[in-house]
Symmetry: C2
Subunit: 421 residues, 2 copies
Amino acid sequence: MGKLIVQKFGGTSVADTDKIKNVAKAVLKEKSLGNDVVVVVSAMGHTTDYLIKMAHEISQTPSPREMDVLMSTGECVSIALLSMAIQAQGHKAFSMNASQIGIMTDGVHTKARITEIKTEKIRKKIEEGNIIVVAGFQGITEDGEITTLGRGGSDTSAVAIGAALKADRCDIYTDVDGVYTTDPRIVPNASKLKSVTYDEMLELASVGANVLHPRSVETAKTYELPMRVRSSFNTDDVGTLVQKNIDMELCKPVTGVAVDMSKVRIVICDVPDEPGVAAGVFSTLAKEHISVDTIIQSYAKLHNNTNDIAFTINKTDLAKAKELFPYFSKNITEDKIHVDENIANVSIVGAGMIDRPGVAATMFDTLAKLNVNIKMISTSEIKISCLVDADRANEALKALHKAFNLGCDIIATVKGDLPEI
Amino acid sequence: MGKLIVQKFGGTSVADTDKIKNVAKAVLKEKSLGNDVVVVVSAMGHTTDYLIKMAHEISQTPSPREMDVLMSTGECVSIALLSMAIQAQGHKAFSMNASQIGIMTDGVHTKARITEIKTEKIRKKIEEGNIIVVAGFQGITEDGEITTLGRGGSDTSAVAIGAALKADRCDIYTDVDGVYTTDPRIVPNASKLKSVTYDEMLELASVGANVLHPRSVETAKTYELPMRVRSSFNTDDVGTLVQKNIDMELCKPVTGVAVDMSKVRIVICDVPDEPGVAAGVFSTLAKEHISVDTIIQSYAKLHNNTNDIAFTINKTDLAKAKELFPYFSKNITEDKIHVDENIANVSIVGAGMIDRPGVAATMFDTLAKLNVNIKMISTSEIKISCLVDADRANEALKALHKAFNLGCDIIATVKGDLPEI
């Protein structure tokens, strides 16, 4: 019996009408395997930028509601053209926008969250033999208001639709052909992973391997929907499977290494060791929606009862954060706050590092041998991150990739054959 | 108490973001008079052409359903940007697409007809103090399918919304500043009409004065909704009022003269005078949706019991019509069918010509003095049209304009002041 496959093609894959015809071929290839197919598409290439430019010509602060009305048009163009392209190649296709399907969201314009996806109409149209072409990134509220899902929106649409339809797999077609042990532009012998777990993918995504948005991976993990990251330019390649831990013996402790240059470090020195001071700092930032990543607080210095607090934020939030410095606490004068923009976060990720204490030691040892100073360390069960000087980051990445034996000679991360999904 | 005014701005008026800002000013000017305002907009400038071009790059025969999904995006861009522009000038605005309002149509894609417009939500948003910005040209079926209204669609949307809301007036802003006694490019002293009746406007529209699509005028007539045709570049000018006959004594028999170069004449000679032959011709054309305008059948010739049948069709339908020639009737051989492409239809229009028998005589006399041959004549209660050689048309137009005294020195078509609408 045929499977139900959700495919997602991003803006680069549908950038012009020729590319859309190629996407139609990839869709029909999946269909020809006897599977039902639901395709989720983004807006064409630079459409989104063009729409944003017009909005800003009109208003520096366009209303989020009207931005959503504007932005949602891009995907509607794509679904119509892709449906035509599939029909031109001789197959039934049926485009559906968020309102027609019932992709219900909350009412938070420009960054809505999906609350429910209705499946009745989409199932009916599949049963009528159609390939369904769905507008990603958009949703609709109970009141009929148009919303968009914000960053990673189309990936999230695809995974959520896959989950709602209980699809067998969600294929994310993109301009890379899979998930690599590290960035191949930095480490030429980076190898493509045949499979990663949801958790590994989440950690890789959060530390700068920008293949999938964490939001879509989290949704896939919750519903145990297998995903594939694969190339829209080479559809013969099966890419990388993202799935739950399939419980075989993991042969390698580390799956990938990644570098993240998007952060800055802020250090506050001599913070009085009194209750509420640190809380004041982070609640001030939170009120302005500035996300804080790693936080390190040193032990109170004995001689003057003060702490040092260090944390990282996104570079894009730095300007706003600086405006907040005076409001952190009356006990924190601005001369005590130091900003370090020249940093990089280097991470190793792998579900196999659990209960293998040697992994962290190998990482620190590798960096020490390079004489790379570690400014901060943060860890999760399956990740160890070290903050280092930005100009040493690529060197550190290469050394770690080599130290954990991630080069091209080893492709699979698990022993034995993977089940076909 | 304030009035409710529906305004409609076409593609030229919203062609770029600067023009959209100007439209916002025109909207706020109406609002500042204490009126509630609903604005209907078309797609920006060349958007529609661009979308059609992409569709044809993908398919020579794109499905009408997907064409509607594609085309409807243009107006959604416009409503978002215009709402932002109004908000940027300090007023509340709320964009609504056809689905959000409930502009219900039949399911005939690319040329749907409006069956009902729901008013509950739009009224609620007006009461909340919003200027409502509505996507013209589009509709939605009971099944949630997206439709478009075809030619004259946005004008029709505006008038239908005006009728549904029982608006006081519907202003059609366009790139001309009103309805003229004739085409000012041909007759420089053509004068702008202060007012025309729906019937006059319908006749003028049908004979080539392309200011308003007849469909919108018919709807306005049915619901007795006054319309104004006015300039989007000079909003101080009140333009031309289109309304029912306000029953004053009409001072002039003829309101306007117009020329229509869009037709071709087809003459079929020696048609056997038998029942069903003419019916065969016109039913063959009707099956292929070719509209036939004037039909003239000569009296049966005594010597051989045959007729001549002449009729006009749109030039754009000629190629298709020629393919049908062999199917007209087994009794009509193709050598009997003559096509005359070099023709023009010159018309005089005026509600005041009813029961003034001298009007037709003046027209024929004027053309005779010019030595312009009249090939066909057709009449309605308020219109007389003469088919003439295309290269004599402008000359005929100028002479008729003069003969009926339509020059600039007389502006009003009715005696006394018009009631303010």
